[in-house]
């Protein structure tokens, strides 16, 4: 059942053109990779995952946007820890241990992460999962000092949001330490992908994180297409771009309002909520689903919108044009609101770079990275667009990056509608079994940041293994960092300005 990566590579077809190649390295090569990541000059960690007997690390070279995947074969289920030298890998190594039983040697943190001791088995992705054992109580990091008190929050939160646990240590109103505990919404997605037919696996990929269903479907489809050497018809790639930008606009509108709402400024929330609803309704008319779930599939898109649908999108853009400038002015001209957002939850450029923070979290802190531009893919390779960057790194900067991205995405949607080519929207016979094992990977910029997807397709044209890394993996740890020294009441603002995904992270 469990096939090692060497066997797979031996029968692998050449991946052809594409920036993503996988190489098997030895222990020295792996250590060199860790040193280069720790050095921090050029390389960023993009993803770190495992399969039976092997661990993989995807890295990005910031100098030229090249992405490479390194694989270390570890038959004894041990490998030198990357997290020991490069902190962003720590939680990924904890997850690898929980899911595979593969242990990072000399890892700085050996506590479980996704496994809360509630599953009927341990190491669910290992060839032979182990019987469950009762885990010891989870030990939170220590914060000690006179007058310190703890505020435990969650997993069930007060608002309508996803579950997770936050442990605040506070001195009066000031937070001295925040520790997150996640994994509550772990659904075992990687195990469901194993041996799944491609259409079923694609439906699961669309439900990694509901707010990013277009982005995850886009990334998954492109990884499958890279593995199978499938060419997507031009009209389909442009429709994919259209959906991705509409998803970005809808989420940014919702979040800009919600951030202001967390400062009790409900006026902004009310107006942004109406604009968001207009966009979702236009999506429903054009694509038959408000969130555009299951619309991007390997080989193309599942549905070609009618002229009425495209007109509905233009009409929603018109409404944004008419009303959004007033809302920007409202945000900019309200000192009581600015008082809450300016200077709050500041993230340094150094941390944003170290953690390769994607999306508005990185770009509000001077990390000028956007997968649409850095690792170009259709239709963005044929489009001109700005990538707004700020350097202050506070809640205000993250709001501004989102405001500017709404404007830019509105421009992009218009450009796509103007240039939408005619033709088919689906490549025939994507999942034709041809007796060959093949792999593919892809990066896609979602509203929250960059997704990395990797798949291996087996001889029967089913998914052998797949992994999708949500941008939240590298943003959640930074939320802990930015809250330090802020007051407890500003946590909701910091949190909402990040808006990390729980579901995408917990997988």
């Amino acid at each position: 059942m469990a096939e090692g990566p060497i066997d797979a590579l031996a029968r692998q077809r050449p991946l052809g053109a594409g920036p993503l190649v996988r190489t098997i390295v030895d222990v020295a090569g792996w250590e060199a990779l860790a040193a280069e990541l720790a050095n921090g000059d050029a390389w960023s960690l993009l993803a770190h995952w495992a399969e039976p007997g092997a661990v993989h690390a995807a890295v990005l070279d910031a100098r030229d946007g090249a992405v490479a995947v390194a694989t270390l074969i570890c038959p004894a289920n041990r490998f030198p820890s990357l997290g020991r030298r490069h902190a962003p890998a720590i939680r990924l190594e904890r997850a690898i241990r929980d899911l595979h039983g593969i242990v990072a040697d000399r890892a700085p943190d050996l506590r479980p992460w996704l496994d809360h001791g509630r599953w009927p088995l341990r190491h669910p992705l290992a060839p032979l999962p182990d019987a469950p054992v009762a885990p010891p109580p989870y030990s939170f990091l220590v914060a000690e000092g006179e007058g310190l008190h703890k505020i435990p929050v969650g997993p069930v939160h007060a608002g309508i949001i996803e579950p997770g646990h936050f442990r605040f240590s506070a001195n009066g109103e000031t937070v001295v330490r925040l520790e997150e505990r996640l994994g509550y919404v772990h659904k075992g997605i990687e195990s469901l992908w194993q041996h799944a037919p491609i259409d079923r696996a694609t439906r699961i990929a669309a439900r990694i994180s509901g707010d990013s269903t277009v982005a995850t479907s886009f990334a998954f489809a492109r990884a499958v297409e890279a593995a199978l050497g499938v060419a997507v018809p031009p009209r389909a790639t442009w429709l994919r771009g259209l959906m991705a930008e509409l998803e970005r606009i809808a989420n940014h509108l919702g979040d800009i309002g919600a951030i202001c709402n967390d400062a009790a400024f409900t006026l902004m929330h009310a107006h942004c909520g109406v604009l968001r609803e207009r966009v979702l309704r236009a999506c429903a008319v054009a694509f038959g689903h408000r969130l555009m779930m299951d619309r991007i599939v390997p080989g193309g898109v599942a549905l070609d919108p009618s002229d009425d649908g495209l007109a509905a999108i233009r009409s929603a853009l018109g409404e944004i044009d008419g009303r959004f400038p007033q809302l920007i002015e409202l945000y900019d001209d309200t000192p009581s609101l600015q008082d809450r957002t300016v200077g709050t939850g500041a993230l340094s450029t150094a941390l944003a770079r170290q953690f390769a923070a994607g999306g508005y979290v990185g770009r509000a802190s001077g990390r000028d990275f956007d997968a649409r531009r850095a690792v170009p893919y259709a239709p963005y390779d044929a489009l001109v667009f700005d990538v707004p960057v700020r350097t202050q790194g506070d809640v205000d900067a993250r709001v501004w990056v989102r405001i500017l991205e709404v404007r830019e995405s509105v421009r992009l949607v218009r450009a796509i509608l103007d240039r939408l080519p005619d033709g088919p929207v689906q490549h025939d016979g994507v999942a034709r079994p041809d007796g060959v094992v093949s792999e593919g990977a892809a990066m896609v910029e979602g509203f929250r940041g960059d997704y990395f997807a990797w798949v291996r397709v087996d001889e029967q044209g089913r998914i052998a293994r797949a992994h999708v890394r949500d941008p939240s993996w590298f943003q959640w740890p930074l939320l802990e960092a930015v809250v330090e020294g802020n007051i407890v009441a500003d946590f909701p603002l910091c949190n909402k300005s990040f808006n990390c995904s729980y579901s995408g992270h917990d997988l």
Binding site: P155, A158, V185, K187, G188, D211, L267, L291
Partner: protein
């Protein structure tokens, strides 16, 4: 800000009329709600949303119920921050095993009379996640479900129909 507020006063509200009631949901509920509970609660229900492992899609659409277009509160339905203030638990997700205890404790913390609404295909039967080691294939095995609202995710209109049926059965 003054201009924006003035426009809000002179323009017509964006709020839309309530959708028609869902007959099937009404019948399902009528059998489960006794008259004593109806008298006690009147026409107002407090709702506590619990994400038991959802992809967040259902949460986005539940959120939309609060926007000015659907304006849930005009019906006497409102979201509350604590299960202790709630009459209704609105549960999403296939019930991740890591969330099982939290859901059970939330249910116990909700005072009777109380109702549980399973929102979305995942909460009803596990959805695309059914069969995973990490989920319970829906919430029905852990808490008693009074109303099911299908969809992936259900649209705000579907949610509103279900919740209005709950209110109607309760009146």
């Amino acid at each position: 800000m003054r201009r924006l507020l003035f426009q809000s006063v002179i323009n017509r509200p964006v709020t839309e009329a309530a959708p028609a009631l869902d007959g099937a949901a009404l019948a399902e509920l009528a059998a489960r709600i006794d008259s004593a509970a109806r008298r006690r609660l009147g026409r107002s229900l407090a709702i506590r949303a619990v994400d038991a492992g959802s992809c967040n899609g259902c949460e986005l659409e539940i959120h939309a119920l609060n926007n000015a277009i659907y304006d849930l509160e005009r019906f006497g339905l409102r979201f509350v921050a604590s299960p202790r203030h709630a009459d209704v638990l609105l549960v999403t997700g296939p019930l991740a095993r890591n969330m099982r205890e939290a859901l059970e404790r939330t249910y116990v913390a909700t005072p009777a009379p109380k109702w549980v609404v399973a929102v979305g295909d995942c909460a009803i039967g596990g959805g695309v996640f059914a069969g995973s080691y990490a989920v319970c294939d829906g919430i029905g095995g852990v808490v008693p479900v009074d109303l099911k609202i299908n969809g992936c995710p259900p649209t705000p209109e579907q949610l509103l129909r279900g919740l209005l049926a709950l209110l109607e059965a309760n009146a």
